[in-house]
């Protein structure tokens, strides 16, 4: 374990990484929707096998899926997992006979005595030369308990068909329906009365030259038509961008949704090439943000110096220290217009730090005035592991090691030196409305810290309290200090 931590830390240092990539050995193509099983996370990929993670951030190979083929997906129904995959591998330049298969397992843990896949059954197929290539299955269970799957590639149409959630087989009498064209890796999700169809456009499987990107349309019906934000039918190529390339990562494809809890959602997909990881195809996880009814990829917070502003009032998190007047004070009105313009410097840390107590200092929220006691440097701590789609961070006053920490009694404090203790580590996740949840890894004396987050109990008083997405007290804006 220590060796791995050193390697992780080394990787961050070597490449100057932000926290934007999963760590460990997250190498996969066409990852299935992430499943949680007995406290671990699983995703399967093309060719068989897949990845396992104990925390959702550090991934290693080890998941087991028989059958080979391409582009699996998975869904939990009751206490079982339904895994779908393509027995074939697509044939963009050749034939297009494809078969979509599903199979059940009670557990995804290959070491469990209950681990056993049922015999796969065919739920859809394509003929050798029709306008469809039956690979790339994606499941959706809607709120009415109806199970659907989509499939298809660039060769013709994306199709969907209803399945029987009790058997995983094709629902009796169900017919295939064309829902989109010129996509790959389709998937569906449901949100607020809309059915969303996601597909991958662009060039696949060409490393850093892959233009793969994930697009979406929506419909009030599971059968479409799925229209984009301009009203274009996905059968006419419509689609609104969900996630495309980043500066060091290219080829976003094969969407899967994971709802952590209300207001906290993640999307999984692959990068065709992560330049920080040898240009290999890797697992990616990003927050899902919903804007005006449309999903898009949020961010994993980059290392940087930020102001942390409450959604309750807009006040900034700060140390409880004296407000020290800065240069540029009131100079009176009506001065002459022709006096030379000079640049007035911001207050600097060295001007004020001498007046701060040396021991623990409390925190509060106050008007943001760009003062040193309001500027927080947030950095990933790679050796601390993480959670689904993100690393733990330390939060220190810029230019110091004074760290924000959870204190006993579910309160807050800053300690003079960051030690790496769990109560000084923070989970920082972007929520579906674009704001952030800041939650401690541990709280001294608290056996169940996982529900607690940084919380505004009064305009000027932050504390730790249980997260509620519908309460602005539990949300924060994190903005770069410029």
């Amino acid at each position: 374990m220590k060796t791995k931590n050193i390697l992780l830390a080394g990787a961050f240092a070597l490449f100057g990484l932000t926290a934007a990539a999963q760590v460990g050995a997250p190498y996969i193509h066409d990852p299935s929707t992430i499943m949680e099983c007995d406290g671990k996370y699983y995703t399967f990929g093309t060719g068989g096998g897949g990845l396992i993670s104990a925390d959702g951030w550090v991934w290693e190979s080890g998941a087991v899926r028989p059958g080979g083929g391409a582009a699996p997906d998975a869904i939990k129904i009751g206490d079982r997992y339904l895994v779908g995959y393509s027995a074939t591998g697509g044939g963009l330049g050749g034939g297009h006979a494809g078969r979509i298969l599903t199979m059940w397992n009670k557990t995804l843990d290959p070491n469990s005595p209950d681990f056993a896949y049922s015999d796969p059954i065919e739920v859809a197929h394509s003929e050798v030369d029709e306008d469809c290539d039956a690979i790339d299955i994606g499941f959706l269970m809607d709120p009415n308990g109806r199970l659907f799957c989509t499939f298809g590639t660039y060769f013709g149409n994306i199709r969907m068909v209803e399945l029987d959630p009790a058997t995983g087989a094709r629902k009796e009498g169900a017919k295939d329906i064309d829902v989109a064209i010129d996509c790959e890796a389709s998937s569906m999700m449901y949100q607020d009365g809309w059915y969303y169809l996601l597909g991958t456009h662009g060039t696949c499987c060409d490393g850093a030259n892959s233009t793969y990107n994930i697009i979406v349309g929506r419909s009030r019906s599971p059968f479409g038509p799925f229209l984009d934000n301009l009203g274009r039918d996905m059968l006419q190529g419509g689609g609104k961008m969900v996630v495309a390339a980043e500066d060091r990562r290219f080829g976003a494809g094969h969407f899967g949704r994971f709802v952590v809890e209300p207001g906290v959602e993640k999307m999984s997909f692959h990068w065709e090439a992560d330049l920080d990881l040898s240009g290999r195809s890797t697992l990616a996880i990003r927050p899902i943000i919903w804007k005006n009814g449309w999903p898009e990829a949020g961010e994993i917070l980059d290392n940087g110096t930020y102001k942390i502003l409450s959604r309750r009032r807009g006040y900034a998190l700060e140390l409880t220290v004296d407000f020290v007047r800065a240069a540029g004070g009131m100079r009176g009105f009506g001065r002459q217009a022709n006096e030379p313009v000079v640049k007035v410097e911001n207050q600097k840390l060295e001007e004020v730090i001498g007046g701060w107590p040396e021991g623990n200092i409390d925190v509060r929220a106050n008007d943001y005035m760009a003062r040193p006691h309001q500027k927080w440097t947030i950095e990933a701590v790679p050796e601390a592991g993480g959670y689904l789609g993100g690393p733990y961070y330390k939060i220190v006053i810029e230019g110091t090691n004074r760290a924000l920490a959870a204190a006993g009694g579910q309160e807050l404090v800053t300690v003079p030196e960051f030690s790496g203790a769990d109560e000084q580590l923070w989970k920082i996740e972007q929520l579906t409305d674009g704001t952030w949840r800041i939650a401690p890894k541990a709280i001294p004396g608290c056996h169940h810290p996982e529900k607690f987050c940084l919380y505004s109990v009064a305009d000027s008083t932050p504390t730790l309290a249980k997260f509620d997405f519908n309460n602005d007290n539990a949300k924060w804006d994190i903005k770069l200090v410029k």
């Binding site: 963009l92 050749g94 030369d129 306008d131 013709g156 329906i177 996509c183 499987c205 009030r220 419509g238």
Partner: protein, 262 residues
Amino acid sequence: MKTIFKTITVAMGLALLMPGISGRAQVYADSSTQLDKYLVPVTTPTAAPDAQGFLGRWMLLEPISKPNRSNTVFVDSYIREAFAVQYFKGQLGDVLPKDGDKIKVTVEYQPPVNLQGGRPMGFGMEAPKYEQKKVTLKWHAFDSKMPNVKLFRFATNLTEDRYGVIFWACTVVNCEEDIPNVRLAVGSNSASMWWVNGEEAVILSGDRRRVMDDAASQRLTLKKGRNVIWGAVINGPGMSDFCCRFIDEAGKPVKNITLSTK
């Protein structure tokens, strides 16, 4: 199970007309691939654009073999060079070829695709050397039954070529008066170039998917009388097609036009 796939039915029923959406009924999958599902011969002097303004009447030349193992080669300079080759007399001209006209052209011959094979070409594999061969290709006057013109099915139904090809298409847009400030909006699979009255109007480079209104020309004037539109689509492995329409300043389709092949 197979009967479901074999059913040759495109059911455009009335099911699921949901409020707030386009009203299109669900489209049941149809495994048939015969030509008249996509394109039918021209039988009338003129045709109107469809409800969304898409131009459905075209003269289509059978595909010119142009082997490419990947569509990632279709950068701007590549397709400009490919489409600058003079394959036939009157290319980009004001006079359209006639239905049934034939041309002779020397191409790199590709053996028919092995449909029983899987993905036959790996990235980075060296392309084989192709034999030069003189072939005769025929022009066809077709009306599309879809918003898009399914070049791939035109090819698979009438020729041996389906991948690694160039398609040439042309049509005439007839206007009763000048229509200024319109744009030719195009989507194509894969790359394509388009000309209006002899002037280059749109280029769609790269590994393209067919997306309606993917790119549009600058503002232009459709003049009273005949306006000749030419297009060329190139594809490696993939399902070639295109869709074209004229849109106005508001992005609405221009429909006070007719289409002909003369």
